[in-house]
């Protein structure tokens, strides 16, 4: 059994994604983008989704996907996190999981092919395990209402909207999507309002509830991958920096106070890797432990990523607090990710209920 390791195929996929991201979204490019008016990079996403084939990984061949699975999808999430890539990977991942639970074929096929961007219209901070927010009402094939702080709505073509117990599909052009000045500058949120927007019902009742849960669970697992990749970048970058930065005539990384902090961070990341891998494997294999694994991954990886980003800023000293150094991109993403899908305290609360503690 090697369910917690990466297969050769997964490592090849990682290398391909990392190369594209290194070429197209090195950190100076991501940093430059946050000062512009288009924080997302639609061209980069088309390359990753369509050419590398990242969008359809968990979708079976007969439904227009690559026929791989959620383990592979989580590897892509790790690389996107490592690069704080300005792409709607997490939103599309949730939409994919929702559509896999519906009868729809056409939208799923187009999403898998990278032809459209879709996201789930739910506040990013909605805790894993919670019911959808109730701000949108359905009336005669139209939707009316608002949803705040939605992930990946800005680049979306299609919105998947839970309303009145059903799941609906709405063209983004038929909604009003307002950018939010967001803590995470590499992946800004948006507020959405619908005013009798034309909608197509994707699933109803229990089916819609299953699609919602599938989307949220897959999102939490992918997010754990993203947090792991993000944390690894922070550790690697900090280790490299303290080796070359000298004070008092010696490398900063030779001081025991610094070494021990980094060693402890490394221990935390070895655990984050095991926990994130376990969650991805559970999701991929339909393991009955998937719900626990997803909450566990969020409880652990959220704190690991925040710690890694905070240590990255601290151990870089003054340069780590500047706008010109990329550490702040990771800090903002990490803290935002820790609130996404519910804070670690909420994950623990949910775990306690699941485990009868």
């Amino acid at each position: 059994m090697t369910r917690l390791l990466y297969s050769e195929v997964e490592e090849d996929l990682r290398a391909a994604v990392r190369k594209v991201l290194a070429d197209r979204a090195p950190w100076p490019a991501v940093l430059a983008r946050i000062d512009g008016d288009q924080q997302y990079d639609p061209g980069l996403w088309r390359t990753l989704a369509a050419e590398v084939g990242c969008a359809g990984l968990p979708v079976p061949l007969e439904r227009g996907g690559a026929g791989a699975g959620w383990r592979e999808a989580a590897v892509v999430a790790e690389e996107c996190g490592r690069a704080v890539a300005p792409v709607p990977y997490l939103g599309c991942g949730q939409a994919t999981a929702a559509l896999l639970a519906c009868d729809d074929t056409e939208l799923l096929r187009r999403l898998s092919a990278g032809e459209v961007v879709a996201t789930l219209a739910a506040p990013l901070s909605t805790p894993l395990g919670a019911a959808p927010a109730t701000g949108v009402r359905a009336l005669a094939e139209t939707l009316t209402g608002t949803v705040a702080s939605v992930l990946d709505a800005l680049p979306a073509d299609v919105l998947l909207v839970p309303a009145d117990g059903d799941l609906w599909q709405v063209a983004a052009a038929d909604a009003r999507i307002t950018p939010v000045v967001s803590l995470d500058q590499t992946r800004p949120l948006a507020d959405i309002s619908f005013d009798a927007a034309p909608a197509t019902r994707l699933a109803g009742g229990a089916r819609a509830a299953r699609a919602w849960t599938a989307a949220r669970t897959a999102g939490a697992v992918l997010l754990a991958g993203e947090q792991l990749g993000l944390a690894e970048w922070c550790l690697d970058t900090t280790v490299a920096y303290v080796k070359q930065r000298h004070q008092f005539g010696r490398p900063v990384g030779s001081f025991q106070a610094v070494k021990h902090r980094l060693a402890q961070l490394w221990v935390r990341l070895t655990q984050a890797r095991a926990v994130a891998r376990y969650a991805a494997d559970c999701l991929a294999t339909g393991d009955p432990d998937t719900t626990v694994a997803a909450h566990l991954a969020q409880a652990h990886c959220s704190e690991a990523a925040v710690r890694a980003a905070e240590e990255c800023v601290q151990l870089h000293g003054g340069i780590g607090f500047t706008w010109e150094h990329p550490a702040h991109l990771y800090l903002k993403r990490a803290k935002s990710d820790a609130i996404a899908f519910g804070t670690p305290a909420r994950q623990r609360d949910a775990l306690g209920d699941l485990l009868r503690l």
């Binding site: 059994m1 090697t2 369910r3 917690l4 390791l5 280790v239 303290v242 080796k243 010696r250 490398p251 990384g253 030779s254 001081f255 025991q256 610094v258 070494k259 021990h260 980094l262 060693a263 402890q264 490394w266 221990v267 070895t270 655990q271 984050a272 890797r273 095991a274 926990v275 891998r277 376990y278 566990l296 409880a299 652990h300 305290a345 623990r348 609360d349 775990l351 306690g352 485990l355 009868r356 503690l357």
Partner: protein
């Protein structure tokens, strides 16, 4: 050899050696001679030159037949530290002499490394070994020696050349604890019991044939021993809520009267930390089985030390009045620490040693920082 062939070979062995009627020592000796003791060891030395990951195949067949085992917990120092060192650095004669009774448990081994003046800085050891004809005369004091009061042999490092730089003047021996001049005294620890000993060596004669590795190469040999000590944490996979976190979770579930809202978050925080550490250890096992040696062993040991301390401290507070009582302060001589059978106070106290024994947490952090992350060494004092 495939797993099914190995299983068949084990069943053939059982057909010739009835596990129920054969006396345990005879059965274990025969098992060793059949190469089914540790299949990754060489033929003729209890093994079959097979990958280590095939050992569970043998163990399962034998356990299923109710065969006696060699009580691995009791001989853990021999199995985990002495045996790999003898295999790697010993002569053919030494391997033949020592490995069989080591594995069957007929001769117990202990480790004579730490000294009062040489703990984390082990290479600063002061025990002297002086050449004398065809042997050595050894004098000094060793400490924190578990099992010394039951052991026949000790793996010993001593300074053979005081003029050489500290890592170069050390030689590695097997010391016969029944030899004149060896005195073993219990070392009582803060739990009240004495798992460990002090060992005093007063002009103990060790034949040169019991030297392991070249004269002056003891430090390199000792590194084999210590590396195996940290890898040995492995063992088989463990289920969720195994160990102290399971004890704590049971108390919480069974006794609603003890619960507080703040305590619940703390409990689940510990549960998450324990589960993350368990999965990290599981991932390390998968890495080792796949032949990818990882440095994660240090991470696993570091994490479990911290966890055991936090969990046992929390359990004691949770129990309130019961936490104020202790079962027994009289000096016992346990073979292994019996965590589960003792009071919570014992667990709390015993866990303090977890971040000291087998490498302090501070030394583990140094090892991770230098060997894994490649950070520069602190300027040596």
């Amino acid at each position: 050899m495939q797993a099914h062939e190995l299983a068949a070979r084990t069943r053939d062995f059982l057909a010739e050696h009835d596990p129920v009627s054969t006396p345990a020592p005879d059965f274990l000796r025969a098992r060793f001679d059949a190469g089914l003791a540790w299949v990754n060891f060489p033929r003729g030395l209890g093994g079959l030159d097979l990958p280590r990951m095939l050992q569970p195949v043998v163990d399962e067949v034998l356990a299923g037949a109710g065969a006696p085992d060699n009580d691995p917990l009791r001989i853990t120092i021999g199995l985990g530290m002495a045996a790999p060192t003898i295999l790697r650095h010993g002569t053919d004669e030494q391997r033949r002499r020592w490995l069989r009774p080591l594995w069957t448990g007929e001769e117990l081994w202990c480790q004579l490394f730490s000294e009062p003046g040489a703990g984390s800085d082990l290479a600063a050891l002061a025990t002297r070994a002086v050449r004398d004809g065809d042997g050595w005369v050894v004098s000094g004091q060793k400490v924190w020696t578990s099992m010394a009061h039951e052991a026949r042999w000790g793996i010993l490092i001593a300074r053979s050349d005081p003029a050489a730089p500290k890592h170069d003047g050390i030689t590695y021996f097997a010391c016969d604890l029944t030899a004149p001049g060896v005195e073993v005294r219990p070392l009582r620890q803060l739990t009240g019991e004495a798992e460990f000993n002090e060992v005093f060596l007063d002009d103990v004669r060790i034949p040169d044939a019991h030297r392991i590795g070249a004269v002056g190469h003891g430090w390199q040999v000792a590194r084999t021993t210590l590396m195996n000590e940290r890898v040995a944490i492995g063992g088989g996979p463990v289920p969720r809520e195994y160990g102290l976190i399971g004890v704590l979770a049971r108390v919480w579930r069974d006794r609603p009267g003890l619960r507080t809202s703040g305590g619940r978050d703390e409990l689940i925080r510990l549960w998450v930390a324990a589960e993350a550490a368990r999965l990290a250890a599981q991932r390390l096992r998968e890495q080792l089985a796949a032949g990818q040696p990882g440095a994660e062993g240090s991470a696993v040991k570091y994490a479990f030390a911290l966890l055991n301390q936090e969990i046992s401290g929390f359990e004691l507070e949770l129990l309130g009045d019961e936490g104020l009582r202790y079962d027994d302060w009289t000096m016992r001589r346990p073979t292994v620490a019996d965590w589960g059978l003792r009071t919570p106070g014992y667990r709390y106290l015993r866990a303090r040693a977890n971040s000291i024994e087998g490498g302090t947490s501070e030394i583990l952090c140094d090892i991770i920082a230098e060997r894994v992350l490649g950070l520069p060494r602190e300027v040596a004092g």
